[in-house]
Symmetry: C2
Subunit: 594 residues, 2 copies
Amino acid sequence: MRSHYCGGINESHIDQEVTLCGWVHRRRDHGGVIFLDLRDRDGIAQVVFDPDTPESFAQADRVRSEYVIQIKGRVRHRPEGTENAHMATGQVEVLGYELELLNEAATPPFPLDEYSDVGEDVRLRYRYVDLRRPEMLNRLRFRSRVTSYLRNFLDGHGFMDVETPILTRATPEGARDYLVPSRTHAGSFFALPQSPQLFKQLLMVSGVDRYYQIAKCFRDEDLRADRQPEFTQVDVEASFVREEDIMNTMEQMIRNLFQDLLSVELPEFPRLPYAEAIRRFGSDKPDLRIPFELVDVADLVANVDFKVFSGPANNPKGRVAALRIPGGGELTRKQIDDYTNFVGIYGAKGLAYIKVNERAKGIEGLQSPIVKFLGDDVALAIMDRVEAQDGDIVFFGADKASVVDEALGALRVKIGHDLDRVEGDWAPCWVVDFPMFEEDDDGKLHALHHPFTAPVSAEELQSNPAGALSRAYDMVLNGTELGGGSIRIHEEQTQQVVFESLGIGKEEAREKFGFLLDALRFGCPPHGGLAFGLDRLVMLMTEAGSIRDVIPFPKTQNATCLMTDAPGEVDEKQLRELNIRLRKSAKDQQEGSN
Amino acid sequence: MRSHYCGGINESHIDQEVTLCGWVHRRRDHGGVIFLDLRDRDGIAQVVFDPDTPESFAQADRVRSEYVIQIKGRVRHRPEGTENAHMATGQVEVLGYELELLNEAATPPFPLDEYSDVGEDVRLRYRYVDLRRPEMLNRLRFRSRVTSYLRNFLDGHGFMDVETPILTRATPEGARDYLVPSRTHAGSFFALPQSPQLFKQLLMVSGVDRYYQIAKCFRDEDLRADRQPEFTQVDVEASFVREEDIMNTMEQMIRNLFQDLLSVELPEFPRLPYAEAIRRFGSDKPDLRIPFELVDVADLVANVDFKVFSGPANNPKGRVAALRIPGGGELTRKQIDDYTNFVGIYGAKGLAYIKVNERAKGIEGLQSPIVKFLGDDVALAIMDRVEAQDGDIVFFGADKASVVDEALGALRVKIGHDLDRVEGDWAPCWVVDFPMFEEDDDGKLHALHHPFTAPVSAEELQSNPAGALSRAYDMVLNGTELGGGSIRIHEEQTQQVVFESLGIGKEEAREKFGFLLDALRFGCPPHGGLAFGLDRLVMLMTEAGSIRDVIPFPKTQNATCLMTDAPGEVDEKQLRELNIRLRKSAKDQQEGSN
């Protein structure tokens, strides 16, 4: 129904007849002439109707914003002085002589002007209008280009696109499953996959050798800002590989992607051991664009009377660290109070600091509420250790190590942005040498990645599980984890040891993961892989403010779809077919738990 | 960990050192030498270990079938007379001098030999072993090539890959939904999509203009042979298009696919109106390779005493049709009895026939139990009408039209295969001019496609809905519906009329499809599309015997996964979080329905 897209009209079409279709973006009357800005996926073209063609002029006179029309006309230069250098089609216009009204449109619920500040709830309710805004449509298109690019890269590297089931078995990997009641098996439930992890490992047992899938994954968790109940993973697995093979291929893929789609040349990805990342940045996904680092000072404060510092300094699970902000001496009392509240979110009970006014003056040159508690020698030793300079501020964290890491790690990034000290646009890295497990407060071990991650040493896994390192690797970009993966366990015996370390007994392992254990016995090759979070990758690449801006039909943080009003109620009949019923009252719940 | 794939070794590698990884497909000892057939995704290579390299020979001596190994060796010609012309690598072998055992393997649950006849249940339980069989692995790989090909075609034609939600709202389109209880909204449920239909229409309202997605769809139906609870659709939609645009693009895509992946030149797709397809073939997905057609004879038998024929002949909803099988006179009594049972599946109460022994003899030349009921004139008139020839058999169907269509339509295909009368390999067509609705026995209208299909004429939709034609089109190949689509309704008013025709009142329409009706008001372009069943397409192209053979991890007809044992039971705690509980007894069910 069209000869060209609106956005594609240019001087090469001058004097040609064109047929365009689209939406009336704007309509102006000027000097007895009607100007329509006609919009489609590719851009906007100016179409002019003058009274010389009375029929189409009358039609054009009727149209309003967002009406859907088809026009026929001839391309011509815009009159001199009326060109628009900001528009791709700004040198030309179409003199319209036919206009067919394809559909009318009610006044949109909000203006499509990209600068208008519309509440997200309204945008989500009328998502189909919101997506019309060029910036949203361009994000969708960019996402499509990203998936297409990644697929072609992986196809070209011998990876096979294989689909794995959505209706599958609940295999607790950590998060809560979405469940689907079975009609044919009363009382049984499918689970939606948290990832295709086990299936892709089974494909390696099958000899698929190189697998990928752009896969929907599901987690029924309370949503944080950048989480969605369903999200998309670029999932990759390969056999007969070592860490280097996967990491090199994936790094190349991401570097090529940035180069070809954004013309960005990413640097080589440095490799940062987990322990170093935590020590220097308080985070296993450090934003390396921020030029501040944590420095341990526990040894210096182990013997001070100030219990706030000496307590954690003498606790094997404690940490005392300093964070020097060059030039941060100018921070006001108000700003420091705000940062104190900020670290409180992460459980820090306060935020000690020392301002460095003039180091040459020794202890006199420091300004701080805590120097008197530390003693002069210790304070000066800390200044030496952090290499403080005049005009700096040094913040402190002293608590359980996890609290200090999170609090100072987050503070580091926040101050970096607040003071505009972000260096460079893109700072990728690999984080490696993760521990197999983390220990909770009860001394129970949890898999840091997932229970199928191979250990560096099977011996150490046996003798000292809490200290054993894994063959996992995460790709981090600008403080966001883009993807994570590992070499997997390919031997039944090792898998059993990991299950035992996690407190999963033989019987439970058989019950939950019997098919995996079987598969490992029937000739499983060494294998490993990685999964990228596609939504986050696209969000970073498009500099979108939220993950919801790169997902066509996202859910709210309350896990609802405002447009379709999902989830919704269902008929009693349907519930009966599924052999379930609602617990309506507390009394019902009581009975149900018997 | 490898330098080459096993299947890639050939004479160009002679004297080169190679490292191969894979599974021991077969092991033979011959003249003091060990021969290992080493298998990977690409094929099989013969590796030879002789006692001159005692260490690797000892290793090779230990390996058994399906062990996973890595070998290093040198490629050489096979000794003269031992070449294997049936193998891609049959001219060469690898003289192995290092062997690393990567994993042992228990004896497989069934031999991987492709000729072994293993029950499907065992194959599904050990799917990861089943998929090792080269024919299965090749199907997975072919499927991957198909999706990659289709994606590249659609990318190249300006279609954008856009993801639509899996957790969505129950919008009854016909089949039963899979439901997902919401934890955060007690008593509410998400539904898994039966197709992305409404979302893709909303994307057209957004101006996406050309959309595609290879999308998972879900239907909780009792499964027929070629159905799965989750299946994959190649889903396409475009704006500002007419039937021709979609049909031409999609036909081109499928023709290119067959040409490039199978070297098959499909003929141009003839277009068959729905009424003609039913009349000639008894089916709206006719297998045009079968050279038999139904012929109406109701007018000839309207006045006979034989009520079995004259009843349906005089019933406006009845049909009397003949199916001539050239050369079918040789069918035995036993075969005819079997066909009588066969049409019984479709509700036919019998299968009348006339054998044509010698037409020149007139009525004497016919052999049939029914001629005496029809009378000579009618019998001979029928013979004229069907152009019967000596040696033919003519079958009859007389019943409600739907029964005759289904019974003779299926019989036509069955006999065509039984008598080896299938002509040609590939017979595609388009079926067009579908009615908007079909009427059930209660006179209630149901959408023949779905309620969003546009009518050919809005006037006829109003005045005579039961007779109105739609702008739908189905692509049919060899009697299988490959895909179906239509131009959609883009005006709210027309959509309301369709809902009314289906007995969906204003209130119910607003409640269930309010967001669609809203969207149609805000400037919806004319649009249409199509969806292909990917599983069936791949099944046809690979000549697989079942849809389950082209799905990596299929469910049984009972909707279970034998490998993971899904669906399974879940904790009481999970049910409580979801605000549901099981109905355990009839008594429970009684209470629940209050």
